[in-house]
Symmetry: C2
Subunit: 171 residues, 2 copies
Amino acid sequence: MLMQSDASGYDIKQQFEKLFSYFYNASYGTIYPTLSRMEREGLITKENLVQTGKPNKNIYTITEKGKEAFRRYLESDIQEVEIKSDFMTRLYFGGLAEPELVHRWLESTIRSTEQSLARLQAEYEVSQPRISPTQLLCLKIGMTNMENILKNLQEGLAQLSRMKEEGAGPA
Amino acid sequence: MLMQSDASGYDIKQQFEKLFSYFYNASYGTIYPTLSRMEREGLITKENLVQTGKPNKNIYTITEKGKEAFRRYLESDIQEVEIKSDFMTRLYFGGLAEPELVHRWLESTIRSTEQSLARLQAEYEVSQPRISPTQLLCLKIGMTNMENILKNLQEGLAQLSRMKEEGAGPA
DNA sequence: ACTCTCATGTAATGGGTTACATGATTTA
DNA sequence: TAAATCATGTAACCCATTACATGAGAGT
């Protein structure tokens, strides 16, 4: 992020909270110690910004050495994606749960996915004119991905409902 | 997994390696200590199976107390999905990299996604008749999801190629 | 009066991987 | 003869979160 603009630990966390969190995230407990370490290693420099009405900020700026490290990162191998989905894990073992319960899982996941999608779409509307083509691609991947998941979940819900009716219906 | 059938640590790892790994994974360094802990806590019992030609196995079986713990888990809140995608992170900062490099990232991600999709489709073909409806739904979500990502990546690649040509073409 | 935003940082704790250690049998 | 499969387990290490500690100003 410091390649794009100088920022404080707080600013960085804010960026994570937006679109970024859909594919990477970090807490303050990671961000602040990492910035300290990077400063010690000469990858970034710190400058204290005195603010009135607000607490002071530590603004970090990337150094030439830091830019080199970033370039080396870009040329390293891509790490495999890591996913931990409690919902999918439960769904996998859904046959061992009450159909009622599975129903509720699907409904609540549909709701939260709809909310995430809405947030991404809002982000898309405001950011669309001023972000880079690859950032736009990130947003597009995120949005169509969620739309797709939603469709699947809704179909799955309808299917399970049909099965429940058949099971509960007259013999 | 022990709710479905008795298994050894090795068997459990095998299951993770299949379909399961798309939404959850664990290494032996997690599996074996966890099984020991669960046995200590009375959630599962261990039985040594003597094999000829192969090393002996520790077969674990879930206890009534373990089944209760599983039921409590099913009724607990669903944890939010966690994703760490190096590819998406790079793509987000793709504007800071050579277009050549971004091109290669997209191509290699397309290749590996195609492979994952092929593996899921193969798994679907063989498993389809004998797995539960929710497990089928898991597979379907995984497959259409990857198909969707592939489509996005291919479109993105085409788009970036067009931009490169325009940028490199005659003024 | 209360809560939220801004802002930084550390300590305790938890969770997990990787590498190491071992070893027989089967397959290429 | 090399390597892959089957099989278990521990120790060192890494990474990260959560909770704690602090504190002013702005909004409800």
